[in-house]
Amino acid sequence: MVGPPLQLTALIGLGLLPLASCLDAADDRARRDEQAGQASAGGVTVTVDDGLAAVRALDGAALLLWAQAPELSIALDRAGASAPFDITVENALADAELRLEDGTAVPPRAAEASDPPTSKRWRLDVLTRARLQLRAPDRDSREAFRFAAYADVQEALPRVQDIYRRMATDPRIRFAVMNGDLTDMGSIASLQQFQREMRTLPFPVYATLGNHELGASDVPFHRLFGRGSSSFTFRSARFTRLDSASATLAPAVHGWLDDWLRAGASSFHVVTMHIPPVDPIGTRNGSFASRLEADQLLGRLAAFGVDLTLYGHIHSFYSFANAGIPAYISGGGGAIPERLDGIGRHFLTIDVDPVSQRYQVAIVRVD
């Protein structure tokens, strides 16, 4: 029979078991990423290459996508098609064009009065199978362009228009990257509200999730926005967004990242995520749970020539280097700010010259 000392030891040991089962905290979200951009309903099958859009609605007559990249490649299969097919892409570039594989432009439909500039509509003729390309008209331009970066709106969502009004005054911003913590707890209602607030912007926002999107048990982010980890190219610059909301990357994401790093090795490459691998204030550890994982990831980014890393999570502004790569933490979306840091709500603008692969970062203060 087990004596009391061994009972106590076993008690202690067994008490650790629940803690020991959290190593796969991010795996389920990676599995959802794999399913993003694919749907089948009403005799229609749609696949968005690389999962760069969320299929928000699909039936035999219409498709609604939420774009997570300036350009999309969409495979459409309509068995027994006998009527036109309406395609709506929300969160698109205001001047985005939809073309068939042979380059033929799909005529746009007139916008409805309530449509924001980033909601685009097209009507497709009767086609049983088509490969469509959502294109930016300036995709072949090698001139410098500007994008914005922000994060950590959270409970300040009702006041986010202060930031968006300021953003909207800059006609050069082509799109924005939102590095997580869109909402306070990640509920469907709050994420939908975030998307409604975005309608005042003249450009799209490509978001990844932060730890606050994990507040709801079923994590509805993927249903509304799409992939948490993805990569796209715009004007030969590569943008990679990673889901680090659990202070780690899922093993599957590391596999994808290798491919994206190789694809971006010879171009200007920006990597963004919510929780940074390392916190410049080490005692705070607002960063990856494991510094060994963090250093291995940073070493890999450096090896493939990543040019810039952007983060959120910490509600302030930091400029530092990680593995020699310039890094910026911009968490000024309105969540409880870091005190005594001399900065309030803000966002960043980044001007990129894809030819020289040079860039310039500027802070735009809202408060």
């Binding site: 106590l8 730890n211 780690t248 093993p251 070493g299 593995a323």
Partner: protein, 397 residues
């Protein structure tokens, strides 16, 4: 009804662990016979508050609680919420009250720390004391629960005592690290504790067979007070100042990196028999300090970058056995380090990242010179370790 929730990332470990816990707690019939009550009364006829815990007849050993199965069950429910419930059901209301007070203090410290972090936005100028306060509070909170469980489960008879400290102790063994993101690793481990008067030198090295992963630690400590090889004591309380250097090198991946830190710590151990007689044989460990250093990235990066880390560790443990052998020491601990093999806790939900890792350590000497040590840690990785321990025979003093 418990439900497997894959989205949350939890496995089914919690349910069978609870079932096994219940079996262990109930399979203890011979030890739970109630002893007759022999409490003295004061002039007003009130029984000594601690006398409901019955002393063993015929020895100066600490008392054991009455109604042990119920006391053990109470230490779990509602004891994990109301610390001291086990002692309360077992008749030791004074200790129950003190454990509840300790829980309250710990909880208040955690609330103050986390609240301060929330209100200040984890401000860089205030974060260190607030994180330390949170760690201390959590340590007190968890230790009061563990103490209540220990007090209900401690067997009758003389409590365990620390073994006399040897001048030299060596260890050699293996470590297995399972991290789903990094390569799983088997590492060989070796270490020693070397004493000279109040000074202790403790080198430790872990290395993979291909030496792609090496972690070397060298620590020196000055014992301010407490037992030493040249000044043995039956008590285990001690306080010491420590300094150390840790070097961790990893060259498995495309960019090799190494982390080198220097650290200063204040560490100690407090025996709990002064807190409550039923807790004889148990102790609290604590350690706090800072580490500063650099991370060096090789390869294309070729850069050094500063790193720093708040060091905080607390543990609850107990001894089994008296004298050099057979004797064992078991402790459950929390360590705030994020730069070691275990790393910090990955949690589902909002809180992943800042917390460190939990672990269980055990050392058992069945023989005066030879022993075994075991380690299990859960953080970003599962770490399991097994060691052979050796302490040479020493001339009598």
């Amino acid at each position: 009804m418990w439900r497997r929730d894959r989205a949350a990332g939890y496995s089914a470990a919690a349910l069978p662990s609870a079932v096994i816990l219940a079996i262990l707690l109930l399979a203890d019939a011979p030890v739970t016979a109630l002893a007759p009550r022999t409490s003295p009364a004061d002039a007003d006829g009130n029984a000594d508050a601690n006398a409901n815990a019955v002393p063993d007849a015929g020895s100066a050993t600490p008392p054991v609680l009455r109604r042990r199965p119920l006391a053990v069950a109470a230490a779990l429910v509602p004891g994990l919420l109301l610390h001291g419930s086990g002692h309360f059901v077992g008749g030791d209301r004074r200790t129950a009250g003190r454990l509840l007070a300790a829980e309250g203090v710990g909880l208040a410290a955690v609330v103050a720390g986390l609240g301060g972090l929330a209100v200040t936005g984890a401000a860089r100028r205030l974060v260190t004391p607030l994180v330390l306060l949170t760690n201390v509070g959590a340590g007190l909170f968890l230790s009061s629960a563990a103490a209540d469980l220990y007090g209900t489960l401690r067997p009758p008879g003389p409590p365990g005592q620390p073994a006399p400290l040897p001048t030299v102790e060596a260890s050699a063994g293996a470590l297995f690290v399972h991290n789903p993101v990094l390569q799983p690793r088997w590492l060989a481990s070796a270490g020693a504790d070397l004493w000279l008067w109040r000074w202790r030198l403790s080198p430790v090295v872990h290395s993979a067979a291909d030496a792609d992963t090496v972690r070397a630690e060298l620590r020196a400590a000055y014992r301010l007070w407490g037992p030493r090889p040249d000044a043995p004591s039956p008590r285990g309380d001690f306080l010491e100042l420590g300094a150390g250097v840790v070097h961790h090198r990893d060259s498995q991946d495309i960019t090799p990196f190494d982390i080198t830190t220097g650290e200063l710590t204040l560490s100690g151990r407090h025996e709990l028999q002064t807190f409550a007689p039923t807790l004889a044989g148990a102790f609290l460990d604590f350690s706090a300090g800072m580490a500063y250093g650099t991370t060096h990235f090789g390869g294309r990066a070729d850069t050094f970058e500063p790193t720093d880390l708040l060091l905080a560790r607390f543990g609850f443990g107990f001894w089994l056995g008296r004298g050099p052998a057979p004797q064992a020491e078991v402790s459950l601990d929390y360590d705030n380090r994020h730069d070691d093999f275990a790393g910090g806790l990955k949690l589902t939900g909002l809180g992943s990242g800042p917390a460190g890792h939990f672990g269980v350590r055990a050392r058992f000497y069945p023989h005066p010179r030879w022993g075994v040590g075991a380690l299990a840690q859960a953080g970003s990785a599962h770490v399991l370790g097994l060691q052979l321990l050796y302490r040479p025979a020493e001339a009598p003093r």
